[in-house]
């Protein structure tokens, strides 16, 4: 049931944009996005709950498609601080915890 994330890794120059996708074969109740830097704990970015929802904070935004089977994370004008591994966390059922699975992660490297 683990969602699929793409790409597995991406290298950017500072100021470039990136898109990270998270998809599932089953409809999702929610999608969570986290960023984890090497040796540190994951840090929450945002949660999407509704089909068609879009959310954003500064230059990082995300969308959840109408069928609730795919979410995309958009990183605009990337900064060095955006480097890290991005995980989507997906919820498949009402009983949280017994249906919550992180995707395999996308490693993002932003170079000067």
């Amino acid at each position: 049931q683990q969602p699929v994330q793409s790409p597995q890794a991406v290298i950017l120059r500072e100021g470039e944009d990136a898109v990270i996708n998270c998809s599932s074969s089953k409809a999702l109740y929610s999608v969570h996005w986290y960023r984890q830097k090497h040796g540190e704990a994951p840090v929450f970015l945002m949660i999407l709950l509704k089909g068609g929802e879009q959310k954003g904070h500064e230059k990082i935004s995300a969308s959840f498609n109408e069928k609730k089977q795919q979410s995309s994370l958009y990183l605009t004008a990337s900064q060095l601080s955006y480097s890290g591994t991005y995980f989507c966390g997906t919820e498949f059922g009402d009983n949280y915890g017994q249906n919550f699975v992180f995707g395999p992660g996308t490693r993002l490297s932003v170079l000067p």
Binding site: Q2, Y29, A41, P42, I47, D94, Y96, G97, Q98
Partner: protein, 113 residues
């Protein structure tokens, strides 16, 4: 500052020797989670507590147990650690289940010799 604290940050144990990892929180959150994260992999949920209600993931080995004596503390017990249990163990909390933000502690890195 309100936070999630994990002790110790690094733990070394011997093969088969029981070990306990600790998590405490000052956020007064209802839910506490334990995740296992191996190198270059995603965190894997082991179990969670909603208050005193324990919820075990179906594929969590019996070797892993947990206790939550009060709202603030949660423990992860590994009864007989194997080499494959070497990993980072992350504790997280949230206000409720499902759609609430999870706040992660810094993790405990477990080494099994």
């Amino acid at each position: 500052d309100a936070m999630v604290i994990q002790n110790p940050r690094y733990q070394v144990t011997q093969f088969g020797k029981p070990v306990t990892l600790s998590c405490s929180q000052t956020l007064n959150h209802n839910v506490m989670y334990w995740y296992q994260q191996k190198s270059s992999q995603a965190p894997k949920l082991l179990f969670h507590y909603y208050d005193k209600d324990f919820n075990n993931e179906a594929d969590t080995p019996d070797n892993f147990q947990s206790r939550r004596p009060n709202t603030s503390f949660c423990f992860l017990d590994i009864r007989s650690p194997g080499l494959g249990d070497a990993a980072m163990y992350l504790c997280a909390t949230s206000i409720g289940t499902g759609r609430d933000t999870q706040y992660f502690g810094p993790g405990t890195r477990l080494t099994v010799l």
